[in-house]
């Protein structure tokens, strides 16, 4: 089916309950705009839709969005579904391949989801921070994580409204490949509401202060496809390492050195596989629920696949 035909079908579906119109008629109108006048597809679609709205005496809200259903981000739980989303572009990432025009993170009040826009779809650019109505995107799944793909039939409409992006829980599974500086036994600024981590006894805001000890880990969990930065707060660190803040302080006191705590923790966790769940905060995942992946790995399924390739 050609692109024009596909769009004509969509529009026809939207109006078939309201007015007597044939798909051919819709297609003619679309192709006049697209093929003769070289109007971009999303603009043509908008114009043709408006034409029928007027003809039917309807408002935009009165019509269904056709074959795709308007859903919230958190409702995406099946691959290959055609859906509509109203979402904000939270982040744009660097595409890894020439076939991808844009890749990044979308969010709505219910959560966040990755999106990919193919170069060959020739769609307008999304901007970071922009809110869009995205009609006819298709869902995808990879290792239990969902994403949406913008394709040549997708209609993008920029909205003026602002939307709140919800706190989203994400799940990360992979090897802990690095523990970053600022991990272990740290000191925080005691000024109320500050809590900045001190560097050599100094707060970047309040200068030299008597810091308060805390435990935390900043780590990278990597599955060979993406590297995720994960933060473990005091509770999560104590649970992960079995080391309490008091014990960590004693350890540092005995060694006359706080870095021993980070060294001990690193020895314990680097190179180990974990599954981590928690809310995302900027580029970090805050570790709420952590489990070590120490069960047997399943080689059999993969062996069947490898032999059949």
């Amino acid at each position: 089916m050609s692109d024009v035909r596909q769009h004509a079908d969509d529009i026809h579906d939207q109006f078939s309950d309201h007015i007597d119109v044939s798909v051919d008629d819709v297609e003619d109108r679309l192709s006049t705009l697209v093929d003769e006048y070289k109007v971009p597809m999303d603009e043509a679609r908008r114009s043709v839709t408006n034409h029928y709205l007027e003809e039917a005496g309807l408002e935009r809200e009165d019509i269904s969005s056709g074959s795709s259903e308007h859903v919230n981000v958190e409702d995406v739980d099946e691959p290959e579904q055609w859906i509509d989303l109203t979402a904000k572009v939270i982040e744009l990432w660097d595409p890894r391949s020439d076939s991808v025009a844009q890749v990044g993170l979308l969010g709505d009040p219910t959560g966040t989801i990755k999106f990919t826009k193919w170069a060959k779809s020739d769609l307008p650019s999304l901007e970071e921070g922009g809110v869009y109505e995205l009609r006819n995107v298709v869902t995808d799944e990879y290792q239990g994580r969902y994403s949406v793909k913008l394709n040549s039939t997708t209609v993008i409409e920029e909205l003026e409204e602002e939307i709140e992006v919800g706190d989203d829980t994400s799940e990360v599974e992979g090897a802990l490949v690095d523990m970053q500086s600022g991990s272990g036994l740290i000191k925080r600024c005691p000024v109320e509401g500050c809590t900045r981590v001190l560097q050599n006894g100094r707060c970047s805001e309040h200068g030299e202060v008597e810091g308060e000890f805390d435990l935390r880990i900043k780590a990278v969990v990597d599955d060979g496809i993406d590297a995720h930065e994960v933060i473990f707060d005091k509770e999560a660190t104590e649970e992960l390492t079995g080391l309490s803040l008091e014990e960590a302080k004693e350890m540092a006191m005995d060694a006359l050195d706080t870095t021993i705590v980070a060294d001990e923790i690193a020895d314990d966790i680097v190179g180990t596989y974990y599954r981590i769940e928690g809310p995302t905060f900027g580029r970090y995942v805050l570790a709420d629920d952590v489990s070590e992946l120490d069960g047997p790995a399943d080689a059999e399924q993969l062996l069947i696949k490898a032999r059949s390739m």
């Binding site: 982040e91 744009l92 990432w93 660097d94 391949s97 020439d98 076939s99 060959k120 090897a175 490949v177 690095d178 990278v220 990597d222 599955d223 060979g224 496809i225 993406d226 590297a227 930065e229 690193a266 020895d267 680097v270 190179g271 180990t272 596989y273 580029r283 992946l293 120490d294 069960g295 047997p296 790995a297 399943d298 080689a299 059999e300 993969l302 062996l303 696949k305 490898a306 032999r307 390739m309």
Partner: protein, 211 residues
């Protein structure tokens, strides 16, 4: 996230046989601080890798200062890990570990040319951790999966290449293209290595958790 911001390089999963064949190194830009990549023959780039295998031998091969070489063996071959004064933690791990032991190494691929002109690939570690057998097995399965994904993508791309006129609609796979230009060995070899690696751990795994 702006394009200028440095994003952390992913640690690729690659078996020793493929790693040691990754002799072509390149940068994506002329900037002297641009990251170095090794070109994997299955069609991807690797600035960093994560490997788990058996550390079978360690030796201080340094002349003036300590320079440790470790051999880390997986089901398909051997990674050569070198750590000197600029990798003090990794060097200490090689010095202090009594082989054999399962080791997890995060590091960067490095190539060097020997006197007879052959290019060797080694691993410069960022960290070396001693791990257990379950972690090794998990790594083998994960690396098998990632390798198969690359082989699959490579073969899909290759199938789209002929006849050449149809190339316009073919998905681009920049690194597969580069690999075909740079390397001779067919990707099916790496699929065979995957099978060999999986067979080596299948059946040896104890379904009961070992303590």
């Amino acid at each position: 996230m702006s394009g200028a911001e440095l994003t952390r390089e992913v640690a690729r999963r690659v078996f020793a046989s493929e790693f040691n064949d990754s002799t072509y190194a390149f940068k994506e830009s002329d900037d002297e601080r641009a990251p170095n990549y090794a070109l994997l023959p299955t069609g991807d780039r690797a600035n960093r890798v994560f490997v788990v295998g058996t550390l079978t031998e360690t030796e201080d091969v340094g002349e003036e200062s300590e320079y440790w070489r470790g051999r880390v063996v997986d089901p398909t071959g051997t990674f050569f890990v070198y750590a000197g004064q600029y990798q003090p933690e990794a060097a200490a791990a090689l010095r202090d570990t009594e082989p054999p032991a399962y080791a997890a190494v995060v590091g960067k691929p490095r190539t060097y040319e020997t006197d007879d002109g052959t290019v060797n690939v080694s691993l410069r570690p960022e960290s070396i951790a001693i791990v257990d057998e379950a972690t090794r097995d998990r790594w083998v399965v994960e690396t098998a999966e990632r390798t198969l994904e690359r082989v699959e993508a490579f073969e899909e791309w290759e199938a789209e290449q002929e006849p050449p006129e149809s190339g316009s609609t073919a998905p681009t796979n920049e690194y597969a293209k580069m690999a075909r230009e740079r390397y001779d060995s067919p990707v099916v070899n790496y699929r065979n290595d995957v099978i060999q690696a999986l067979e080596s751990i299948e059946g040896t795994q104890n379904p009961e958790p070992t303590t």
